[in-house]
């Protein structure tokens, strides 16, 4: 079943075209990445989906039209004045769920996310990786049908990023959240995705759609030759793009 589809979605800011007839779709339980150069307008797609930006032209359709998306921003956006547990329940609180029920809803997931012993800590007391896990759990517990992940590992150091990606793949294989990931990291896109859309430089068009048939788990082991080929292919497309004169 198609969970989300965008048809001919275009956006202009003033005179500047940012998105040019974007077509993409995400199936139920599928992990899809949007890969593109920095500043291509990847995040603009998310802003359209979360309603931060009004849709100008084209159509967006979702399987469940009300409250489809849970959004995980690039930096963790944890509230520094709230303890971890209260950050995790923020989305439920906004939905009007009483605090006690919200906490009970989050409790069974804490262990898998490695946060069980840190619920009363403030965000500043946690490492970057833990904060990112908290931000992901805050996204998941909202119970929305599609997870929007905006470069969720981009702000981490290389080692933590690799650990987090491996951990994330594990969690994803267990839960199969329908996910749309925005990234400019080719390796990350290949490691996590079922399908990858490659965007051009601004104005962003979809210039390639690539299926990644590599069996999971893909991380925590030497990369397969197939993964290497796909990465090389993607890189070539991207380099060709950014190599052009604006």
């Amino acid at each position: 079943m198609t969970a989300l589809s965008l048809k001919d979605v275009s956006v202009t800011f003033g005179d500047i075209p940012v998105l040019d007839r974007i077509n993409l779709h995400v199936e139920q339980g599928e992990f899809v990445s949007i890969l593109g150069p920095s500043g291509a307008g990847k995040s603009t797609i998310f802003r359209l989906l979360t309603g931060a930006l009004p849709l100008q032209t084209g159509t967006i359709s979702c399987a469940s039209p009300e409250n489809s998306f849970a959004f995980m921003p690039q930096r963790d956006a944890l509230m520094p004045w709230r303890r971890i547990i209260d950050n995790l329940t923020l989305g439920l609180e906004v939905q009007g769920i009483p605090r006690k029920d919200a906490r009970a809803h989050v409790a069974p997931l804490l262990r898998d996310f490695g946060l069980a012993d840190f619920t009363t800590h403030y965000p500043a007391q946690l490492s970057g990786g833990m904060r990112q896990r908290a931000a992901l759990l805050r996204t998941i517990v909202q119970g929305r049908s599609i997870q929007l992940l905006d470069e969720p590992f981009g702000a981490l150091d290389a080692l933590t990023r690799t650990q987090m990606q491996t951990w994330f793949e594990d969690r994803w294989r267990a839960a199969r959240w329908t996910s749309l990931l925005v990234t400019h990291d080719v390796r990350e896109a290949v490691a996590l995705s079922d399908r990858i859309y490659v965007l051009s430089r601004r104005p962003a068009r979809v210039i390639a759609e690539i299926t990644v048939p590599i069996p999971r788990p893909r991380l925590g082991r030497p990369p397969s030759a197939q993964a290497h080929d796909i990465e090389a292919h993607l890189l070539e497309i991207l380099l060709h793009q950014t190599g052009e004169k604006p």
Binding site: G51, A70, F71, V94, A124
Partner: protein, 262 residues
């Protein structure tokens, strides 16, 4: 992976020692100078004499401290309430903010020396003009602190809340208001130091009782020792109020301590 909670380095007492030493030595030098030079106490009374006068006039001083405290608290409570209410209105209505802000800025440019006698003329010798003057002086720093504080909210947190379907009201309560708290306390500490001074000045201009009146009368009867006694009390009041806000800030902003903020 857990980072330890940073603790404040050194005991609070140990860190206070340099400050205490410098204040004490200033008083000692003052005392020695007065004794050695034999200057008239009508010109410059020694600290020991000021202290002696504080003890001797304790009833007079206490009776006049109470009205000053009343004016300070009432004025401050008024300005806090209005600043808080108005800050919310201004935050929800940017147009009103643009229309009214220049007026508030102008209110800060009015010289207190000129305004105070007028306010006393309009409102009499009772508590009202003092309350109004304290409010006038402390209102603007509080309002600016709150409005700037709301504006300091991390836009990513607001985007996140909007993606969760939060209303403007929910965003204000869960994100903008808590974001403003450090600013609020910075403003509170500045305002509270103005508040006592403003109350005393308002009394000085016209009142039946208060530390300002004690200072005025003592000055007119050439008693610098009593003037200084009243000054000491006013400083103590300010210091106590300042410490109280610092204590409150520590309690409310406990989350900042874990980050190692001061």
């Amino acid at each position: 992976m857990q980072r330890p909670v940073p603790r404040r380095s050194g005991g609070g007492l140990a860190r206070g020692i340099p400050a205490v030493l410098s204040v004490v030595s200033a008083f000692v030098i003052w005392e020695i100078y007065v004794r050695v030079s034999g200057i008239s106490p009508l010109m410059l009374p020694a600290p020991s004499r000021v202290l002696d006068q504080m003890v001797q006039n304790r009833v007079l001083l206490w009776d006049n401290t109470v009205p000053t405290l009343k004016a300070t608290f009432a004025g401050f409570a008024l300005s806090l309430t209005v600043a808080f209410g108005l800050s919310i209105i201004l935050d929800f209505m940017p147009r009103v903010r643009r229309a009214l802000f220049p007026i508030f800025v102008v209110s800060q440019t009015l010289p207190l020396v000129a305004i105070a006698p007028l306010v006393v003329l309009w409102f009499g010798f009772d508590l009202t003009p003092k309350v109004l003057l304290v409010a006038l002086v402390t209102f603007f720093p509080m309002l600016v602190a709150l409005v700037d504080g709301y504006a300091s909210t991390d836009p990513e947190i607001e985007d996140l809340m909007r993606s969760m379907g939060a209303t403007r009201d929910q965003i204000f309560r869960a994100a903008r208001f808590p974001s403003a708290m450090p600013y609020f306390f910075a403003g509170l500490r500045i305002s509270i130091t103005y508040a006592v001074v403003a109350a005393i000045f308002a009394e000085y201009v016209g009142a039946r009782a208060g530390l300002g009146i004690v200072i005025l009368n003592a000055k007119n009867s050439f008693r610098p020792d009593i003037v200084l006694a009243a000054v000491v009390i006013s400083s103590l009041l300010t210091l106590i109020l300042f410490s109280a806000t610092a204590l409150l800030q520590r309690t409310v902003l406990r989350w900042r301590d874990v980050e190692g903020h001061r």
